[in-house]
Each structure stands twice: as C-alpha cells, then as structure tokens.
C-alpha cells in the first residue's frame, strides 16, 4: 500500500523532541577536545575606512589563540556570482581590506579556548574608523536609483498606456514594505576542522553544496577537499541559503589555528550575518472596465540593494504579470545602493514581496467598483500564463477560491467597510490570490538495500526542518516497494549524491523525483537479479511480470511464487542504485508551471486603540500532489505565521543618520508570538500534473504568499482605513 499521500509523523520527530537530534552548534566533531571558539567583532559604523585596530588588550586577554583582521587574514579569491546565492564576487571578500560597507560587517575575529574568553577578548578590540556618510535607507538614495537591465529587465505585454487610457477606473497607489530579517530559532553556526587533506565543515546551511563550492573557490581548494555536513537545521527562511561571512571566517580561523573552530552568531549579529528581505517601494496602477475586467497592470518598484552590490538583486515584480489575465502589463524595477548587508531571499523574495501591492490594489479596485474582491479575481482569471503565453501545466486556482471561500464563509461578508462588529471590535474579512513558480533542481539520490531488507535513501540535500527526511522516506519506500519503516533517509552531507538547495520551493519536488528514480532503479535491478537467480522462486520470470508489495516480490497472477527482498539480498550482497533528476529546461518550455492559492482571513480591530488581531485564517493551496498532508499542513501554518508578521509586526528599523539598525534583537524586532496566531486551516486542492514529476509543485513559499495582503485587505474592510505602509502597527490606525 502506498505511503505517499499519507500523513505519517516526521521520521526524525522523536530525535528532535527528546533532544537527541544534534544541531550544528551542539555538535563536537570527534571527541570535541580540540574545539576552540571564534567570535566576530562587527563594524560600529556603516561606511568608511578602518584607520586602526588596537588589539593589544585583546591579544593579552586569557585564552586568546588568534586574532584575525584584514592585516593577517588569509587572502581569498572572489566567488563568481553564478556559483552562490547572495553576496558574491568581491563582496564577500571578508577581512580583505579596510573598507566598511555596512554596520555589522565583521572587522576582526577572535579565537580563544572558551566562548566566554573569546567574547570577552572581542569586546576589548578597539577599532578606529574614518567614517563617511552612509546611505541609510532606500529613501536617502532614491534620487540615485538605477535600472538593472541585465537582472531586472522591464516586462512589457501589450500597451499599458492605452490600457490605462481605455480604463473606466484607474487605481494608482504606492505601497512600502520594510526590510525584514530572517529569524530562524537556530542562529548561524559553523564548525570547521582544517587538516592537510581535508576541510570538514559542520554548518547550518540551506545548501551544503554551495558552501562546499564557495569555500573551495575562495580558499583555492578542490571541491573534493571540502566536506560539508548539515544534518539538522533549526530553520532558515532563506537566510541560510546565501553565501555568507560566518562560514568564511570560521574556515579562516581553523586554517590559522590548526584547531577545530566553532563560530555561532549571536541574535544581534543575525541582523547583519546573512542579509535581509529588502525594503521596497511599489507603485501600482490598475486599469479596469466597469465590470472589473482588467485593462492594464503597471507596477514600478524600487528596492534596496547593498552599497557593494555586484550580484543579481531580486526583481520583486517578476511574477506580477502572472496571476491575472490582462492584455496590457508592464513592470519595472530600479535599485538603490544602501549601506546595508546585501539582500538575500526570504521565503519568497519575488511573489512574497511584489504581490503585496498588486493584491492590495486589487482590493482597492474592488472597493472602488463595488465588486466583491473574490468575484473581481474570478473575472480576471488567466486562462493561460499571461507572461509567457503558455498554457498552465495544471491550475487549481478557481477551485482554491471556491473551496477556501466556502470553508471561510466568505459569502456572508457584508461588503461595506466598518459594517461588521463583535462587541467593541470591528471585524474585517479580506482575501488575496497567491501564486508561486513551481520548479526543481538537478538532484541525485542513491538507494541501498541490505540483506536485512532494510533500505536507506541518500541525497546531499538538507532538511530545513520542513519534513524533507520524511517525504523522502515515503517516496523511496513506495518506489522500492518496501514498508516505510524499512526505509531510512540520509541528508546533509556532501559525501552523499549531490542535491540542491533547500529554497525556492524546490526541495520536495527535487528530492522526491530523485528518490523515486533511485528507488525504481533499485527495484528493477533486484528484479533482474532475482529472475536470473536459480535459487529464487522468481527465476526465469519476465522482469515485467514481477510485482513488489510490502517488500515481497512475486509473479503477476501467482502470489505464492515469490520471496522477500531480504532473501534475494542474502544471496546477492548489498545492492544499490542511483537516480538522477534533471529538471525540465526553462528555455523552450511548452507549459507554465505554477502553484496557486487563496488566502481568506478575519481580523478584529480595536477601533480606539488601533490593535489588530488575526482571528482565523483559511488558506487553500493547489500545489499538485501532497506527499504528506501533515508536514504540508505544518508548512502552511508556518507560512501564515510569517505572513502575519509581515503584515502586522515585523520591520527592521534603521537610524537614518548612521545606517545602524536600532531594533537588533527580539526585544525590538517583533516576530509573532503564540498570542498573535489564530486557528489556521489548510485546504489542499490536489491536481495531477503530467508535466511535473510526481506532480509535486512545492509548498515552502506559496504557504506565505498571499497572507500579508489578505490581512491588509481585512484591516481595510474592518476599519475603512487603507494602510499602505507595512507593517500595520497600532499607531497607524489611531
């Protein structure tokens, strides 16, 4: 019986809840005896030059083994941008020169025998700067905004100016979204041992292969000399997907000291360790006929990038042409160089940011026309992908609208703002469309079967905490035809067959495709062995006639003629097979592959005090086939919680004089807490998609896209007040 599609519990759940799962910062390599600790000293200014570093006191402090600055750091080679995500090239040449580009940039690293000694010594390092005036935020530099035709070429479909001129109604609004920082529970942790033959790196990363290739390139090693391990991850949200300095400086420290070195960034350092979701300004113009049919969509965005930018920034409007059928669409983006860390992905860098304005503007249009917001979206349903002109590989959006609305009770909504109440609270209902491109990465898997009938599936990818171990076990068990208890998954080691990153909503699709291919290949291989094995009851059967059920192989039509995998393997040694998944090429595609969703949310607003609570949320998602409804549901809960943070609580605040973050800690950067999180319901609209292996479209990002705009729209419905500057804190509603 198939286990794919069943809500089995996480296979590593027991290890995690009992504390037996060791995360990177818990993990001593070998006996851990020679482990020493590194602590980074981070720049106090956001722009300028280091004029002097007085390290005498620090060097003299107890237990200090090494102090690295740009004077004595090993020289690094630039890492080409196409090899890594995030800051590349010259931009990650940490500790190579005296330039400071952002506050929090590492300027020295202290290595000592204990964490306490290293922390203390780091506090004794005196750095002097020749400070220059930084560009603190997008707004300070907006006059110098520039285009990037290479990375963010404008999209033009039809004639937007005519579409706007022909419209009966035009909505023209500007929205701003703040910089946000990823705050996984586990901060960035790295442990490196550097010996003559091998560099072993334990690191909390969303891409072990990127860390391997990046470190090899930057230190001039061959990739085979670097082994990267990341067994358990405490989240990442994109922050651990990028190439970032903590791994680089830890490797430097290990090389210089010859010791096993660990560096764990503090929560405060997480505000500059890996990069952020960039601050943006989004102007949207929608043109529509009286009946709501869109005649034009124009979106012009400005986003921040770092002052030392030389990597592709995201084009947050890249998906804007996709959700609605409209003949005239134009999107543009400009960039402003800001003295901040280089922006990196955060759980949907494109749709999760760029559609906030589009989905809010759709709500404004609905209000203007007096059309129900859901009905407006239905009327603009895109029969094919407006961007590419291609048919959808599959599209369950209308059913998401339908089932989500029914479950939520949307038809009961009184369209009038401020019309619904619960005692002293104003009640608002809002909705939004979600879309996310569905893709996958080249990934290889190896499945091995032993004489005890137990199997293992290995992929050099990693589990962010989302359930990758679990779904991979399910898929491989089905493909091989063994009970799920007999299959074990291994991830998180570059010694395993190469896998992709845990980002871009690609992991489930990639890992499942490779695990299935490897499992099926091994099944076929063992069948071939059995039919050729005179000692087997299957001997002489045609391989095509051999079926497998629950680890038992038998001849079609005669269940008694067969034997178990274990019996075959006992005679024929350990067997293994690999599977290589190659994603369909983007060029020359004949279909557009997307996941779809619809968010419905209820808020209660205290009209006098301005406080907003989300009181229930229904999210319907079409992401092809769901491998495990349980881990999938948990993805949706996490995604909606992030959307609540984006809409209501989270923003990185920067002092506009000196470009330093003023809320760099959990006391000031407010992620939602339990009391902010309501009952969240996930509905999965399942679809077979003949163009996607296993019909797996991925859930990681669609889980959060759509949530924030639905909440913004609900707040408008509750209060009659449209807030276009995220997040909606109480002061904005007073």
């Amino acid at each position: 019986m198939s286990v794919v599609g069943r809500p089995i519990a996480r296979v590593e759940g027991r290890l995690k809840v009992t504390g037996a799962a060791r995360y990177t910062a818990d993990l001593p390599q070998d006996d851990g005896k020679d482990l020493v600790h590194a602590v980074a000293v981070c720049a106090a200014v956001a722009k300028g030059r280091i004029t002097s570093i007085d390290a005498r006191q620090a060097r003299a402090a107890g237990g200090v083994l090494e102090l690295i600055t740009h004077h004595n750091a090993p020289r690094l080679r630039p890492v080409p941008a196409q090899e890594v995500l995030g800051p590349a090239h010259e931009t990650l040449l940490v500790l190579q020169d005296d330039r400071v580009h952002y506050s929090g940039q590492p300027v020295a690293v202290v290595v000592a025998d204990t964490l306490e000694n290293a922390t203390h010594a780091a506090s004794l390092v005196r750095v002097e700067y020749a400070e220059e005036r930084p560009v603190a935020t997008l707004f300070e530099g907006i006059d110098d905004a520039f285009d990037s035709p290479r990375y963010a070429p404008p999209t033009t479909i039809g004639d937007v100016d005519r579409g706007l001129a022909d419209a009966a109604v035009v909505i023209d609004r500007t929205y701003t979204t703040p910089a946000q920082h990823h705050h996984p529970m586990e901060t960035m942790a790295t442990t490196v041992r550097w010996t003559a033959d091998e560099v072993t790196v334990h690191v909390s990363t969303q891409t072990i292969s990127m860390v391997r290739d990046g470190l090899a390139t930057t230190f001039g090693l061959r990739p085979e000399q670097v082994r990267v391990v990341s067994e358990f991850l405490g989240g990442g949200f994109g922050g651990k997907a990028a190439w970032c300095w903590p791994s680089v400086v830890t490797a430097m420290a290990a090389r210089l000291t010859g010791r096993q070195v660990r560096l764990v960034t503090t929560r405060r350092q997480m505000f500059a360790a890996t990069g952020q979701r960039p601050h943006s300004v989004q102007r949207v113009r929608l043109g529509a006929r009286r009946d709501g049919v869109l005649t034009a969509i124009a979106q012009d965005c400005v986003g921040e990038t770092s002052a030392f930018y030389d990597t592709p920034p995201f084009y947050i409007g890249a998906a804007t042409p996709v959700p609605y059928g409209c003949p005239n669409i134009r999107t543009t983006q400009r960039f402003v160089k800001v003295n901040c860390q280089t922006p990196v992905p955060m759980r949907s860098p494109v749709e999760g940011v760029g559609l906030v304005s589009v989905e809010s503007a759709m709500d404004e249009l609905a209000a203007e026309l007096g059309v129900d917001p859901l009905e407006l979206r239905r009327r603009n349903y895109a029969e094919r992908d407006p961007n590419s002109g291609l048919p959808w590989s599959s599209n369950g959006l209308l059913e998401c609208y339908e089932r989500g609305a029914r479950r939520f009770g949307w038809p009961e909504r009184n369209p009038e703002p401020r019309s619904m109440r619960d005692g002293r609270y104003l009640v608002g209902w809002g909705m939004a469309t979600a879309i996310r491109h569905a893709g996958s990465d080249p990934t290889s898997a190896l499945v091995r079967l032993g004489a005890d009938g137990r199997a293992v599936v290995q992929i050099g990818s990693q589990d962010l905490g989302t359930g990758t171990f679990t779904i991979m076990t399910q898929v491989a068990a089905d493909a091989l035809g063994v009970p799920v208890e007999m299959m074990r998954a291994e991830l998180g080691d570059t010694d395993l067959p190469t896998g992709g990153g845990s980002f871009g909503s690609h992991t489930a699709a990639s890992v499942a495709a490779a695990a299935r291919l490897a499992g099926e290949a091994l099944r076929a291989k063992v069948i071939r062995i059995a039919v050729a094995d005179e000692g087997s009851p299957l001997s002489g059967a045609s391989p095509d006639d051999v079926l497998v059920d629950d680890g038992y192989l038998f001849v079609r039509g005669d269940r008694s003629r067969g034997e178990r995998y274990a019996q075959i393997l006992r005679r024929n040694r350990l067997q293994s097979a690999t599977g290589d998944h190659t994603p369909p090429p983007r060029e020359g595609a004949t279909v557009a592959r997307w996941a779809f969703g619809a968010d419905f949310t209820e808020v209660k607003v205290d009209p006098e005090l301005g406080t907003v609570r989300v009181t229930r949320h229904v999210k319907a998602i079409e992401a092809g086939r769901i491998i495990n409804p349980r881990t999938a549901r948990s993805q949706v809960i996490g995604g909606v919680v992030m959307g609540i943070g984006q809409a209501l609580t989270e923003a990185t605040e920067v002092d506009r004089r000196d470009a330093r973050i003023t809320n760099a800690g959990f006391w000031g950067y407010h992620v939602p807490v339990n009391a902010d999180v309501p009952d969240i319901e996930a509905i999965f609209v399942e679809r077979d998609d003949p163009h996607i292996p296993g019909s797996v479209k991925g859930l990681g990002e669609i889980a959060t896209i759509g949530t924030a705009p639905a909440i913004l729209n609900a707040v408008f419905h509750a209060t009659g007040k449209r807030v276009r500057d995220l997040p909606i804190t109480p002061d904005k509603l007073l």
Partner: protein, 323 residues
C-alpha cells in the same frame, strides 16, 4: 563578556556589606536582566552577589495593606492579590512571558534598565549608559521614547509594568542600606533624567530593596491595567495605564491614574486624577480624564501617536472599572 565573580549570600546584612563598598559589585536576583546587560556590556560588573537565598519571598496581605517581599514569586497568582489588587496582578501578567516570569523577582523588575534602543546597543551614543556621550534617541528612532519627563539629555522610558501599577497604588519601597533602612514612595524611587540621566534612581550603591508595601486603600480593589503593544503578548508597552478608583454614590471620590511607556519613570497623571475626582464615572468624564492625562506631552518625531494613544487608553482603562 567580562569575567566576573559570583557569590551567594544568606542574610540581608551580609548582602549589603558585600555590595556597598564595591562599586563594581552588583546584586543579582532572577538574573533575567543582569546577565543580558553584563553580556552585552551595558553595565560593567566584576562581581555578582546572588540574593536569591535571602528570606524576602513573602506575600502578606493584611488589614494595613499588602506586603510583597523583594524576591516573592508569582505574585500575580496570589488569590488575595487578584481579588483586592487586580491592577497589580494584571500588570504582572502583562509583563514579559511565563518563562521570564518564572525567573524574575519584584525587586529586579523595579530596577530593570530602559529598553531604549540607544541604551541597549553599546555602539550608540547614550548619556544614560555613558555620561556625556550624547543621546541618539532625541533625533533618532524615538517611536518608543518618552513624551513626558524627558530632557535634552535623555528621553528613555522605564519599561516596568509592575512599577506603573504600584504607582497607582501609592506603594512604598522598603530598602536596607549601609546606613540603615528607608521607605521610599515608589514615585520618588526613580529620578528624572535632567542633566544626569545616568543617575537612574535615588538608591545608594548597594542599597538593597527588601520589599514593597501597598497600603490598604479604597481604590485598590477597583483597579485595572491596560497595556498597548506592537503584538499581542511579550512586548514592552507603547502605552500602558493603571487606574484605580474609589466610587461612592456614583461619584469618584478618589482615584489614581498612572502611565507606562511614556516617561523615564512610571508617570502619575495628576491632571487626569483631578479631572475625574468629584465626577460621575461616565463616557464624558473618562474622555476628559484621557485628555487631561495627555496634556503637557512633548512628543518627538516618531512618537506623536502616543499622545492620542494615552487619551484613549486612559478612557478605555477607566471603562473597565465600571460606572
């Protein structure tokens, strides 16, 4: 993190004897504040003296009022506190999280430091942390800062919820110093920053808080705490209000209104109290009290919203104690 030594003490006398003469020694109770401050370098301590073994844990209600030991645990769960001093229980419950509350102590809560961003990050200028270095908040991100009681040197806000409730209850702080015991009305415990923001309280170095006395009053039982914050829980107040009223024959005879999140110390809104006293408790008087509470505010660029928020929060808190 600077290395420091750690000792425990078992009597009030030895505690005071150890800390008073040593400017680099510090009491530690629940350690929820101290460890963060020492680790991040806001305060430099060479020596931490742990007072948790001192016999200061009692919660004693009586005819004269309520005594709370400096180390009392979970005051918010005490049935008499909940019944007779609801504002106190509510303020404690509105503070921090259950995990932090499992550790913290009333004495430590009163002496927690400001959460001003410019104080908490040692890379910023802050007169409170480093006298004479300047104040980053005056022209900076001052959304959380004071609209009352600040100076050109400091506009930090005192973050304690407990202290606001105690201010509405006329509480008195009991201390023991090298020169003997003192009783300090809670309002007088904190100094306004003036020109010397680094002098935060009137306590001498080493003066130990032994307990808090809340006198019996006609208004304590009819009291309420309202806290407005950026998320539903586990955040410091944008604005908070403690109200306590004595209403007889439909008229407010006496009342206390104290504000949190708006000043360098819990802020008694005397104008609001005066506006309300002698009036029936109704929508009009509540609104007038709110307006009076907000009068005289001197907001900065990013905290103007606090003025309206104070007005509404006072009116709302008063509506919670009935007509």
């Amino acid at each position: 993190m600077r290395p420091f030594s750690y000792t425990t003490v078992s009597t009030v006398r030895s505690a005071v004897l150890q800390v008073s003469p040593d400017p680099k020694a510090l009491y530690v109770a629940g350690a929820t504040e101290v460890l963060n401050l020492v680790r991040e370098g806001q305060i430099a301590a060479d020596r931490l003296v742990d007072i948790r073994a001192l016999p200061l844990t009692s919660i004693r209600p009586g005819a004269e009022g309520l005594h709370i030991g400096a180390l009392a645990r979970h005051v918010e769960n005490h049935p008499v506190v909940r019944r007779d001093y609801p504002v106190l229980a509510q303020a404690l419950l509105a503070g921090a999280s259950p995990q932090v509350r499992n550790m913290f102590t009333p004495g430590g809560n009163l002496l927690q430091r400001t959460r001003c961003s410019y104080y908490r990050d040692v890379r910023f200028a802050c007169n409170r942390r480093e006298p004479g270095s300047g104040c980053g908040a005056l022209e900076g991100n001052n959304r959380y800062n004071a609209i009352f009681g600040g100076s050109d040197h400091c506009i930090a806000v005192h973050p304690s919820d407990l202290a606001v409730a105690l201010t509405a209850l006329d509480a008195v702080v009991r201390t023991q110093g090298p020169a003997g015991a003192r009783s300090i009305p809670i309002e007088e415990l904190y100094r306004l920053p003036g020109e010397e923001p680094h002098r935060e309280t009137v306590l001498d170095h080493g003066e130990l808080i032994t307990g808090i006395d809340v006198p019996a009053s006609r208004f304590a039982a009819r009291s309420h705490y309202l806290k407005i914050r950026d998320r539903a829980s586990f955040a410091f107040a944008l604005v908070s209000v403690a109200v306590a009223v004595d209403v007889r024959r439909g008229v407010v005879r006496d009342c206390r209104i104290a504000l949190g999140g708006v000043a360098p110390r819990p802020w008694r809104a005397r104008a609001a109290e005066a506006a309300l006293t002698g009036k029936p408790l109704n929508e009009e008087s509540r609104r007038a009290a709110g307006q009076a509470a907000a009068s005289g505010a001197t907001p900065r660029r990013h905290n103007r919203f606090k003025v309206a928020m104070v007005e509404r929060a006072v009116a709302r808190a008063l509506s919670e104690v009935g007509d």
